[in-house]
């Protein structure tokens, strides 16, 4: 989407670093997160979860729980809608979400919800769960992606595969992706060196510190209110309405402050349960997950098994590349195998490329998006092979990547031609960076990697209302997951020409705006930002119209400059600039309230690339790794608030460090998750990390008025590979399985020694 009204320089507000508008709330404890809301007469809900990885539910006896004093409602699957009154019946993803929210005939993973209770206190609700008697018939289970595809593996759900899956595959393979161009066999024949290897990554959790929490109220009139921590409250509204057989518009959803999401809060888990309990008890019901519930029953990424083959000439030219990517996404279709496949080779201009993806079901929780879903694993596999090729051919890893880098006009590995992109700029900045030119110390290894993510636009609606005193209030529909209120206010200030501090940005509820897609796909600064700019322009047009009326000149003879209406030229007349506040002061008498709107589905989210440099040390005795230096170089298009852009770069890198080195879902032979807590599922601590340096590259995205590209997700694409390359160099053995935890490193060192 090319825009005719772009602005890429001479910014007054954009690019500055003001304090975020919700800062005081968040440092004083005043900000209200998911679990911080109460309502009069509120009950507390709790959910009973399957202890089995795979079991048929033969019966559920809730009578003893219902008899417990203080228990007001018990729900099971029977209390949800399978045939909503409004709509064609529950199929596809809504059915999958229902099946995940409350088990039907089978419990499909350890932690799968089977019943729920609402009681007058959280303790009574917990006690009541113990009185629910569930009879299970335990079935064979499978949690590994390769085993789930193999002959004889237990079938999770017969008939779940879609039409893309080739005949003869195991029923657990539910989707198939195949893309590419050229002739890879011919390309490999041209290469001086072809390397082929297999890689595995374990599932990780988004690890947001705030557990899922909600407060729902639903009457038997079908009217409801829901407060919840979510990345997308319109999605929550739509999905809860579907699962409970309500009219969407009768359920108003308000998003709380959100204590981290990273993709994991893009769906519903407890929200429909709270509403079902509320409807039955006729009282508001609050549910807050425990950390162990968060690990067992929400959001992990897919785990992967991947085969990569790349051919290279002696001068570093890649002649062909192919990859097979198998993703396990839990007991439901949806593992992002197509994203993994499409992102894998995107950084490189390849004549011959072929990628295949498999979406495989297993007895694990339903995977949810996690920051650039699918891309980091692909980069790990591909960039590891490129690193080995560089080493064997004696080539500089950045030079090789520059030689093959995608640029404007390149036919991407996934099909279309790239518009303006900044990969080459990130590589050049990395090459010139002091980090890359600093010699390593004894025992250290350095790794670099590129990474790619698409970014996303999506349905967006924004309103911008002016107040009589000349201030402005923006209503956006995208929850603020990392300081986006500040970015919205900066963009509005730029258009309106009034100070940043005179603008307040609010995340509106579902009754206030049209549908806003989830805060995902790095879309908020791009899409809500674009909509904010357009809404401000709409308000400015209305302001100019009022000035034209006042001056008695045509509307098109007025333009907006520095917060004032001015005549557009000498011929328009001689009038003093009319400031915004002068126009709004009596807007009631000159035509009524002035509000700017924008509603659309912007489709110009520019793709983005990053290059990371990592130095690592490995203790050969214990296998412990240490990241000693880390630099992120990423194309932001245009950094609206550079401090928060840096924060996204650093946060993505830190999560990547955790994924690469320590984080993993560990399942026992019984199919139960062994490490459902932060002690055993170890996310990076302050004492684990160095400072994380950042370089913001700005190659404007032609699809945004100021050139913005999303920045939240691309930052997690290179780390797994960059760290694997650094650790492999420091250890002296190639690590092909994540996480590179101490036991895995010790085992790899021992295997190398035993030769």
């Amino acid at each position: 989407m090319a825009l005719d009204d772009t602005k890429t320089k001479d910014f007054k507000f954009v690019g500055t670093r003001p304090e975020r508008p919700d800062g005081v709330d968040k440092v004083t404890g005043r900000a209200k997160f998911g679990a911080d809301m109460t309502a009069p007469g509120m009950l507390h809900g709790a959910i009973l979860r399957s202890p089995h990885a795979h079991a048929r539910i033969l019966s559920i006896d809730t009578s003893k729980a219902e008899a417990l004093k203080g228990v007001k409602a018990v729900v099971t699957r029977a209390d949800f809608s399978t045939n909503p009154t409004f709509g064609p019946g529950l199929t596809g993803e809504p059915w999958n979400v229902l099946e995940n929210v409350m088990a039907g005939e089978k419990a499909l993973y350890d932690g799968h919800a089977v019943a729920a209770v609402a009681a007058t206190s959280a303790l009574i609700a917990r006690d009541a769960l113990k009185l629910i008697d569930v009879t299970y018939e335990v079935l064979d289970h499978v949690t590994d992606v390769d085993k789930a595809m193999a002959e004889g593996a237990p079938v999770i759900r017969e008939g779940a595969a879609d039409k893309s899956v080739p005949a003869g595959m195991h029923p657990n393979v539910v989707r198939y992706h195949d893309s590419g161009h050229g002739d890879v066999e011919a390309g490999f024949a041209e290469a001086d060196l072809v390397l082929e290897n297999s890689f595995k990554t374990e599932a990780t959790h988004q690890g947001y510190i705030e557990p899922h929490a909600c407060l729902g109220s639903l009457g038997n009139d079908g009217k409801g209110e829901l407060w919840c921590t979510t990345q997308g409250h319109w999605y929550a509204q739509k999905m809860c309405a579907a699962l409970l057989g309500l009219e969407t518009s009768q359920l108003r959803v308000t998003a709380s402050e959100i204590g981290g999401g990273f993709g994991g809060k893009t769906t519903v888990f407890i929200e429909p349960v709270a509403l079902a309990l509320s409807r039955k008890a006729n009282k508001p019901v609050k549910i807050v997950m425990s950390r162990s519930e968060v690990f067992r029953a929400t959001g992990p990424t897919a785990s992967t098994s991947m085969d990569i083959k790349i051919g290279m000439k002696k001068d570093g030219t890649i002649t062909a590349a192919s990859g097979v990517f198998r993703l396990q996404g839990g007991a439901f279709p949806g593992a992002p195998c197509e994203f993994t496949a499409m992102c894998a080779f995107a950084p490189y201009a390849l004549e011959n490329v072929h990628q295949i993806g498999y979406d495989v079901m297993s007895n694990r929780p339903k995977q949810a998006a996690y920051r650039a879903p699918g891309s980091p694993m692909a980069a790990f596999a591909v960039e590891s092979v490129i690193d080995d090729l560089c080493k064997e051919l004696g080539l500089d890893p950045i030079d090789v990547r520059l030689k093959n880098a995608s640029h404007k006009g390149t036919k991407a590995s996934f099909g279309p031609r790239f518009d303006d992109i900044g990969l080459v700029e990130t590589l050049e900045a990395a090459k010139a960076h002091e980090h890359y030119n600093t010699p390593l110390k004894e025992g250290q290894g350095r790794g670099i990697s590129c990474g790619f993510w698409f970014n996303h636009g999506g349905e967006t609606a924004v309103s911008l209302a002016l107040s009589e005193d000349g201030t402005a209030q923006i209503s956006v529909g995208t929850p603020d997951i990392g300081g986006s209120r500040a970015s919205m206010a900066l963009m509005a200030a730029e258009e309106l020409g009034i100070p940043y501090e005179h603008i307040r940005c609010t995340v509106a509820d579902t009754a206030t705006l049209g549908y806003n897609e989830i805060s995902h796909g790095s879309r908020v600064t791009y899409a809500s930002g674009l909509a904010t700019i357009k809404a401000a322009k709409d308000a400015v047009n209305k302001l100019c119209k009022r000035a034209a009326q006042k001056w008695g000149i045509p509307e098109d003879a007025v333009k907006w400059e520095d917060g004032c209406a001015v005549p557009s030229g000498a011929n328009a007349g001689d009038f003093d600039p009319l400031p915004l506040a002068k126009i709004t002061a009596n807007m009631g008498a000159t035509g009524g309230p002035i509000v700017g709107h924008f509603e659309a589905t912007p489709e110009g989210a520019g793709v983005s690339f990053a290059t990371h440099i990592v130095d690592a040390e490995v203790d050969h005795e214990t296998g412990k790794t240490k990241i000693v230096r880390y630099t992120v170089v990423q194309d932001a298009g245009k950094a609206i608030h550079p401090t928060y852009v840096e924060g996204q770069f650093q946060g993505g890198a830190a999560q990547g460090i955790g994924w690469a080195l320590n984080e993993e879902y560990i399942y026992g032979d019984d199919g139960r998750l062994q490490n459902a807590g932060f002690l055993d599922y170890r996310i990076p601590l302050a004492s684990d990390l160095p400072m994380i340096d950042t370089v913001i590259v700005e190659v404007a995205n032609p699809g945004h008025p100021y050139g913005v590209r999303g920045v939240g997700e691309t930052s997690i694409c290179p780390p797994l590979a960059a760290i694997a390359n650094a650790v492999s160099a420091a250890a002296g053995v190639r690590m092909r399985e994540l996480p590179m935890s101490p036991p895995r490193i010790v085992a790899a060192l021992k295997a190398a020694q035993d030769g």
């Binding site: 510190i209 924060g647 601590l685 400072m691």
Partner: protein, 159 residues
């Protein structure tokens, strides 16, 4: 189960509440005193989002029973600012963007204030290890550490 009457001092105010002996101090602060600034991230003492100071000692409120607060003093995030004046740490956290989502921020502020009271001139390594019990998933800690080091320097200068 019969409830126990607890008298305690929170952020300088004398308060009392009735609690079940199974309820944690965190439950009591949040549900009985409506001090929801302290957060529950794990309930097992691993994340530090519920950090409070109990009789001068930094603790996870999720690992302390409500009844243990009897006769003691509890300091929470709500008591860090004095009236409308923010503590220097709070100001620096906003200035440095040392928070993205903000859920870990109350615990980190409580923990760090306690550190600076004990050790006004900490090294970066000391700060990183002091905060090893406070998980942040958003920031990678970089801006948090910078905000703290700058606050400590400024507070030392101010004497």
């Amino acid at each position: 189960m019969s409830k126990i009457h607890v008298n305690t001092t929170v952020n300088g105010d004398e308060v009392d509440f009735l609690c079940d002996p199974r309820e944690t101090l965190l439950d009591c602060l949040r549900d009985k005193l409506q001090l929801t600034g302290s957060k529950e991230g794990c309930g097992t003492g691993d994340c530090g989002a519920c950090s409070v100071v109990l009789d001068g000692r930094l603790v996870c409120a999720c690992l302390v029973l409500g009844v243990e607060a009897e006769g003691k003093t509890v300091d929470t995030v709500e008591g860090i600012a004095k009236g409308q004046d923010l503590h220097p740490l709070q100001e620096k956290f906003i200035k440095y963007a040392a928070l993205q989502c903000g859920i870990c921020t109350p615990g980190i502020l409580v923990a760090t204030k306690n550190l600076l009271e004990r050790s006004p001139n900490p090294t970066e390594t000391e700060v990183r290890y002091w905060l090893a019990g406070n998980l942040c998933r958003c920031t990678g800690y970089d801006k948090i550490i910078r905000a703290i080091m700058d606050t400590a320097a400024e507070m030392r200068e101010a004497g």
